[in-house]
């Protein structure tokens, strides 16, 4: 099996789709000559030309909005919003248009649009370049939401997002781009709505997304030294959610920790906790613990930034709290 970085894996899914399918094209800021601010689309201009690898003005509303229009007309646009902080500028088109055309038209139209974006803290950009806003979109019926954490997943899920007939908001985590991992020779589409069990365990389930999947795996290894057996599950798709896999895991371990980099309050962990307590109330031996950022805009100074965002130790401490409640 070849090894790809997370960045290369995204690029691989994009190039294969572009190669196979004339209706696929990319739009976004600085994606052409520069290859994107995260170097994800590097080389694509050379292979596919400026008609299909389109640099746009700084117009996030129009980038998403024109993607919607083209999608309805039978194209499969993949648009890039450079930082997820700037998704806020395209909210109207995403929330009121992309998500609703299907229903408002009584099923006449479909919007096969993929909106790729990235974010994540830990590099001191300050408050407007590292937010994690994925949970906002989980609140919007009509959208699908993906957050991939490994090279294999990001490639297979992006493929499925591109070929899904609905608008998909596709989150990548900035700190994962250099991460290497094995991927199958042939691109295996990964169905949206299917969680991945990264590690089996019997004492507590950590349901983690994005960077926190890796922190959870590290925390699990450390917990193991103390004789705590941790299962780590990555939902991968937040909407639709694979409730079955997650609930089954918690019914087995009887304890649960949710973990994401986004702030805890109103974060995706709240939704997970609600789903789990309802479906597995009688199985729970401890309150569900939620790990995430503290409730503050990200401050610049590294010591303050690190204090706000969750670390491996926070996951480990949460694991310990759940097992302490025997």
């Amino acid at each position: 099996m070849p090894e790809l970085t997370y960045r290369e894996a995204v690029r691989d899914a994009l190039s294969r789709a572009l190669r196979e399918d004339e209706t696929v094209f990319l739009m976004g800021e600085d994606i052409a000559e520069m290859g994107g601010s995260m170097a994800v689309t590097q080389g694509l201009l050379d292979e596919f030309g400026p008609k299909r690898i389109r640099n746009t003005p700084i117009s996030e509303m129009a980038i998403v909005g024109s993607g919607i229009g083209a999608a309805i007309q039978g194209m499969r646009p993949v648009v890039e919003i450079m930082y997820e902080d700037f998704l806020t500028l395209s909210m109207e088109q995403l929330v009121n248009q992309a998500a609703k055309h299907r229903t408002m038209s009584g099923g006449q139209v479909k919007v096969p649009l993929t909106i790729r974006t990235q974010g994540g803290a830990g590099w001191s950009p300050g408050a407007q370049h590292a937010q994690q806003l994925e949970s906002w979109f989980v609140h919007v019926p009509g959208l699908k939401v993906v957050f991939a954490s490994t090279p294999e997943d990001v490639r297979g899920l992006l493929w499925s997002a591109i070929y899904d007939d609905n608008p998909v908001v596709f989150f990548e985590h900035r700190t994962l781009y250099p991460l290497k991992g094995e991927v199958p020779d042939e691109l295996e589409p990964i169905p949206l709505g299917k969680a991945r069990v990264h590690r089996e365990g019997t004492d507590v389930t950590v349901v983690a997304t994005g960077r926190l999947v890796h922190d959870a795996l590290t925390a699990a290894e450390q917990a193991e030294k103390d004789g705590i057996s941790v299962e780590v599950v990555d939902p991968r798709t937040l909407l639709p959610l694979d409730e079955e896999t997650i609930v089954a895991s918690v019914k087995k371990t009887n304890r649960c920790v949710t973990a994401h980099e986004a702030v805890v309050r109103g974060g995706f962990g709240a939704e997970l906790a609600a789903v789990i307590q309802h479906a597995a109330f009688d199985w729970l031996d401890a309150p569900i613990e939620r790990v995430g950022s503290k409730f503050a805009p990200l401050p610049f100074a590294p010591v303050m930034e690190q204090y706000v965002i969750p670390q491996v130790e926070d996951v480990l401490a949460a694991i310990r709290r759940t097992v302490a409640r025997a």
């Binding site: 996030e60 950009p125 610049f300 303050m304 204090y307």
Partner: protein, 342 residues
């Protein structure tokens, strides 16, 4: 910061030689400050994400010299020059870049969020065009209270493609608020050249004012005197009650978009040629006929200030981790049915 009087001199609104020397010194200070920032970033001392405005110093200097202390500005991701020219001491900016409590945003902001409300810097924005509407509102507040103050938004050519920009221009003109929209047109939006993001020739970008019936004033952004005089005229117009101004300044980015940008998208010859012909500091030096000795002693003076700012910053106080939560909300106020008590 040199004052308007010092720079303006007398005689038909043209700037005296002394005034120009004041500009020269400030522009050199901004240049050396930013070169030092690049150097310290490369040395791994500065965290975060940095954009310098090397080549655009005349815009910051010329515009801010035309403003009064009580006038306010909103800056962009390329904020160091604006902040220095509006009057924040460089050691407080350097301390911010080092994430120190003594920094102008107390370590919370960083390079893209320099604030200094006392000198009228309402903050730099990392969201392109993000600061523009707030400037319309600031100008509205001045207008409503009958204050003789202007509010000034700095932004680039790339920002004129944001809906935020267009909505702000329209509203400002509709209500004739005393705002100045300073279009710092360097012909690039990150890696995207004007011809890929503007449907009109780059030099004609000022035409966007016409769509809103807004007064347009244009000047060569590499000529600090021209910028200064244009900004004075813009301020006068904005305060006259006839509405805001789009101040279009053509300028040049002599370096990468961000510190460390290899500029793979840019023709190497073009960079070389632009550096050789458009450097506003070189242009002013030639005009002032500063000889090597004069230049060297001025440079030494400025460098000493810059070095001192680094020393100040390094000796600064690190915030406590838990301070992260200290500034999320303003403190609660006492209230009763009668209204607010201070």
């Amino acid at each position: 910061m040199t004052t308007v009087e010092e720079k303006a001199g007398s005689g038909g609104g043209r700037v005296s030689k002394e005034g120009l020397r004041g500009f020269f010194r400030e522009m050199l200070l901004i240049r050396r400050f930013e070169e030092k920032v690049e150097e310290r970033f490369r040395a791994g001392e500065l965290p975060g994400f940095l954009h310098v405005a090397i080549g655009q110093e005349a815009v910051a200097s010329g515009v801010c010299a035309a403003l009064e202390r009580e006038d306010v500005i909103a800056s962009t991701h390329r904020a160091h020059g604006h902040s220095i020219a509006k009057g924040t001491p460089i050691e407080r900016i350097m301390a911010e870049l080092y994430g120190k409590v003594e920094g102008c945003s107390h370590g919370y902001g960083g390079s893209m969020h320099l604030y200094d409300v006392e000198v009228g810097n309402l903050g730099a924005n990392a969201v392109v065009a993000g600061g523009i509407p707030g400037i319309v509102g600031a100008a509205l507040a001045f207008q409503m209270r009958g204050e003789q103050r202007v509010a000034v938004a700095f932004f680039g050519d790339g920002a004129t493609n944001a809906g935020t920009f267009h909505e702000s221009m329209n509203l400002a003109q509709l209500w004739k608020v005393p705002a100045i929209f300073v279009l710092e047109n360097n012909g690039w939006a990150e890696s995207t050249p004007a011809k890929q993001h503007l449907p009109l020739p780059v030099d004609e970008l000022g035409k966007r004012a016409l769509a809103y019936g807004m007064k347009l004033i244009e000047a060569d952004g590499q000529d600090v005197e021209a910028v200064y005089l244009a900004a004075l005229a813009a301020r006068e117009h904005a305060l006259s009650g006839s509405g805001p101004v789009l101040l279009h300044l053509r300028t040049y980015r002599l370096v990468g978009h961000y510190v460390g940008d290899p500029q793979v998208y840019r023709d190497k010859e073009e960079i070389k040629k632009t550096k050789a012909t458009k450097d506003p500091i070189e242009l002013l030096r030639a005009r002032l006929e500063l000889d090597e000795d004069e230049l060297a002693s001025l440079d030494a003076e400025v460098m000493a200030e810059v070095e001192a700012s680094v020393e100040f910053a390094k000796a600064g106080t690190d915030p406590k981790p838990e301070d992260a939560l200290a500034n999320v909300y303003a403190p609660a106020r006492k209230m009763d049915r009668g209204g607010l008590h201070a």
